[in-house]
């Protein structure tokens, strides 16, 4: 049984790393130069957040594992990111809608976490909150532009929404260990984020001329290490260097 705070921090790190990697896959493939830069910048923010969380997790674990050990030397079942972030990057509409759904949750989440009784989590969150504000604004603008754009862009956005929506439920899951952290004032209760998240989603969707799907069955498992095959492929890419050349450095 791992310490709850370690598990909690590791989940935050894994979400940030996996999403950051998905965003980084766009580098050199963006639909236009400005978006190529934007996606790479958002990737960098996420990976930076992951580094901060991994470093803290490694320190509190006390087994001498560094941020790199945690990122590069764990296998699929050890990763605890939500399934939403490991979905393949898809087309631009898919990537931007995922970024919107995620940052509309993470922005208020980090805002609350910055008041955590755990000083280190609070410090990391205070930085991350500012970054997610830009991710939210940028992705929201694109969701509106695509939804209220051409027939083609609107169709792609709708398709992305149908794909992604069943993966949004996992953001609000809480297990017993996490519940204790919430009661201790260390962790954020995701239920408290939900009204604001829905409000943001509805407001942007109204401008984008799309509707939030009716409540559907939600996918779950990533937080417990039960992943889709996509994470394995992602890790093969992400971890290749350290697996093939253990301990190699720049």
């Amino acid at each position: 049984m791992e310490a709850p705070l370690f598990t909690y921090t590791l989940r935050l790190a894994d979400n940030a790393l996996v999403l950051g990697h998905r965003l980084s896959e766009w580098c050199g493939h963006g639909p236009m130069l400005e978006e190529d830069l934007a996606l790479a910048n958002m990737a960098l923010d996420c990976i930076g957040q992951a580094r901060n969380f991994y470093t803290y997790a490694g320190e509190m674990e006390g087994k001498g594992r560094s941020e790199d050990d945690l990122a590069y030397l764990r296998d699929c079942a050890d990763f605890t990111n939500i399934l939403l972030v490991e979905r393949p990057r898809g087309d631009f509409a898919f990537t931007i809608l995922r970024q919107f759904l995620y940052s509309a949750f993470m922005h208020p989440f980090f805002e609350q976490l910055s008041a955590s009784k755990d000083e280190r989590l609070a410090a990391i969150a205070a930085k991350a909150e500012k970054e997610m504000a830009y991710h939210l604004r940028h992705s929201a603008e694109w969701v509106i532009r695509l939804g209220d754009g051409t027939e083609g862009s609107a169709a792609r956005l709708s398709e992305a929404l149908a794909d992604l929506w069943p993966f949004t439920g996992e953001m609000f899951e809480v297990d017993a260990a996490e519940r204790a952290l919430i009661e201790a004032g260390v962790a954020v209760d995701p239920a408290s984020i939900r009204p604001l998240w829905l409000e943001t989603v509805d407001r942007v969707f109204a401008d984008a001329l799309i509707t939030r799907p009716k409540d559907v069955w939600m996918q779950s498992g990533g937080r417990r290490g039960e992943h889709s095959e996509h994470l394995g492929h992602l890790l093969a890419d992400l971890q290749f260097m350290q697996r093939a050349y253990p301990g190699s450095v720049w």
Binding site: K130, E131, Y134
Partner: protein, 171 residues
């Protein structure tokens, strides 16, 4: 008694000298600004015989931080400090509010629009910004993209002089 006072003034002079050396280090991505102008240099203090310089990253993933830490270390070495360390601190989170007025003036002269006003919360999220063009001063400008050549900058364009420009984002 006299010796103790002498020792502590000697210590303060060392700190002042170390600060001077560290404060001259420039941001590798915006070389017109020093880390002091940016507010990235947070503290210079003494830990026993060791001089400790505390810096804070602008963004979580700022790739310039390793470079800045190395440059600070080199600057201290050149200034003759044998026992030295550079510490990264996350809290309080860096904000453009810490940028000096001198720094903002340097940015503008360099062709980058300095951060406007003070960093705000969620209220400004979907708000409209008014950024004067650093070339001609016109307010008839338009945001091209929230993200520019580095994490700290957005891409803007002036509709009066037609020049594109970077805007140092307010966070």
């Amino acid at each position: 008694m006299g010796a103790v006072i002498e020792l502590s003034t000697h210590g303060d002079a060392r700190i002042a000298r170390a600060r001077e050396a560290a404060a001259r280090v420039c941001d590798p991505e915006v070389p017109v600004l020093t880390i002091d102008d940016l507010g990235v240099l947070r503290d210079v203090r003494r830990d026993g015989e060791t001089i400790e310089v505390v810096i804070t990253p602008t963004y979580s993933g700022c790739p310039a931080m390793d470079m800045i830490a190395l440059e600070v270390d080199l600057a201290l070495e050149k200034a003759g400090f044998v026992h030295r360390k550079v510490t990264l601190s996350l809290s309080p989170a860096w904000t453009t509010d810490w940028m000096s007025e001198a720094g903002k003036a340097k940015l503008k002269a360099y062709g980058i629009a300095p951060p406007q006003g003070r960093a705000k919360g969620r209220g400004a999220l979907f708000g409209v910004e008014e950024i004067p063009c650093p070339h001609c001063g016109s307010l008839d400008t338009r945001r091209v993209s929230e993200f520019g050549s580095t994490a700290c900058k957005a891409l803007w364009r002036c509709e009066s002089c037609r020049e594109p420009f970077d805007y140092f984002k307010c966070i």
